[in-house]
């Protein structure tokens, strides 16, 4: 029993030392978009994009050369609620200067949401497909992975995926600020 536990501990220790990308808890890249269980471990990579550790995200942010796109989802208030129903949108604290485009990171999105995403990116990059863009939400959130993949499909050439998102940003002692969605997605 004791030997087995020691073996397990050693194995876990080795796993922790293994290089990034081979850790068992990081799933391989799916061929398409992720369509469910959005809050779960994400892959180590995104084909075509550069993965940004928090330190490099900070450097890009300080250099001011990239635009930061927050894709944390937020449901719109349903139109059918009885009058007077108390409603509270959760406040979002994000990377200062980031543009918040909620709901663009679902695995499947409506044409309206897709064009909202396109318009938002165009506004942020002033229509420059070569502008570096950094996509993020929270840690272990597939929404940012999906959104970065989608931005590549739109033709953006310098796509950065920042998987630690606002969680990693705040843990690194960097400031967050309250943001509001760029505009509400059309129904």
């Amino acid at each position: 029993m004791r030997a087995r536990r020691a073996f397990a501990a050693a194995w876990l220790g080795l796993a922790a030392l293994a290089p990034l990308g081979s850790r068992a808890q990081e799933p391989p890249e799916p061929s398409g978009y992720r369509t469910d269980r959005y809050r779960s471990p994400t892959p180590a990579t995104l084909n075509g994009a550069t993965v940004l550790p928090v330190g490099e995200a900070e450097a890009l942010w300080k250099a001011g050369t990239a635009v930061f796109i927050d894709v944390l989802p937020r449901p719109p208030k349903p139109a059918q609620l009885p009058p007077g129903t108390p409603w509270r949108d959760s406040p979002r604290h994000s990377v200062p200067g980031a543009l918040w485009l909620p709901n663009v990171g679902f695995g499947e999105i409506s044409p309206e949401t897709e064009s909202y995403f396109r318009r938002g990116l165009e506004a942020a990059t002033k229509g420059d497909l070569g502008k570096p863009i950094v996509l993020f939400c929270q840690r272990e959130c597939w929404m940012s992975w999906n959104a970065a993949k989608r931005a590549l499909a739109f033709g953006y050439r310098r796509v950065f995926w920042f998987p630690d998102g606002s969680d990693g940003w705040s843990e690194a002692g960097l400031p967050l600020e309250r943001v509001e969605p760029y505009a509400e997605p059309k129904e």
């Binding site: 449901p75 139109a79 129903t85 509270r88 129904e187």
Partner: protein, 271 residues
């Protein structure tokens, strides 16, 4: 398939707590914050004072819910001896849900001194769940419990729209006299769409559509009345203290499209 027929509210609660104990132990993981409550309190209770309700209300909810779209909550009213007041109404609040007031339950003029009520709710992210009891003298008392669950309001419906519509408004009533528990359960089939669920095919949000008002009577006496919102789970289900007395039980419900549903059941004989 109806989940609650397999796992009643009590069983779900038990399983949730067991799972929590096994996986999380006693570690403090959550950010248990009052910030959301501070911002919604005026909408729920205005500027009225709210006292600690531990002496007269219990709230049992899983620390970590197994299914965020069906989180069992169990409310017990137990007015202490020597306190002559009754509880006239209770509000069920889920701080972090976008529509935080999940339901208001009213007990009529006579109020309740001893009553249990269980239902199932959607929890959208780690949140305090609160019960605020309004006494016969107008005073408010509150208890709360922290629940770790996420995605309950946006989780897809477990039935397709055609299936949900085929059984719409179907009701069930069951008294548990034979088990030795003085309880009964009412269920109404309704998708109770939250408005935050994405339809699989169209990828649009399915419009909110839910049971807004539900009254359960024993003969002419109101057992309880619920004004509900989008946080009440699909196929709203209520288990409550009940003593059969030979009178029929009637259930009347109205949804946000104005559809009404009525049914009367034999209430069982008193002993």
């Amino acid at each position: 398939m109806v989940r609650c027929s397999r796992f009643g509210p009590f069983m779900g609660m038990f399983m949730g707590m067991t799972l929590m104990a096994a996986v999380w132990g006693g570690s403090a993981w959550a950010d248990e914050s009052e910030a959301a409550w501070d911002s919604i309190r005026p909408d729920v209770a205005g500027q009225r004072a709210i006292e600690d309700g531990a002496a007269m209300i219990d709230l049992v909810a899983p620390k970590r819910a197994e299914d965020a779209a069906f989180v069992p909550v169990d409310i017990r009213i137990h007015m202490p001896d020597g306190d002559a007041r009754t509880v006239r109404a209770i509000k069920l609040v889920i701080d972090e849900n976008p529509a935080p007031l999940a339901a208001t339950f009213q007990f009529g003029e006579d109020g309740r001194r001893s009553f249990e009520l269980s239902t199932r709710v959607r929890v959208n992210s780690y949140s305090y769940v609160r019960v605020i009891g309004e006494m016969s003298d107008g005073a408010l008392y509150m208890v709360k419990s922290y629940v770790k669950a996420a995605g309950g309001c946006s989780a897809p419906a477990t039935k397709d729209p055609a299936e949900a519509k085929a059984n719409l408004g179907e009701m069930r009533f069951r008294a548990f006299a034979d088990t030795g528990r003085n309880e009964a359960q009412v269920q109404i089939r309704h998708p109770n769409y939250s408005g935050l669920q994405l339809a699989q095919i169209t990828r649009f949000y399915t419009p909110a559509w839910f049971v807004q008002d539900l009254a359960v009577k024993q003969g002419e006496r109101l057992l309880f009345r619920m004004e509900g919102g989008i946080s009440i789970s699909q196929d709203p289900t209520f288990r409550f203290s009940y003593r059969p007395n030979g009178e029929p039980v009637s259930v009347e419900a109205r949804d946000t499209e104005g559809k009404t549903f009525r049914r009367s059941f034999p209430g069982g004989q008193g002993s």
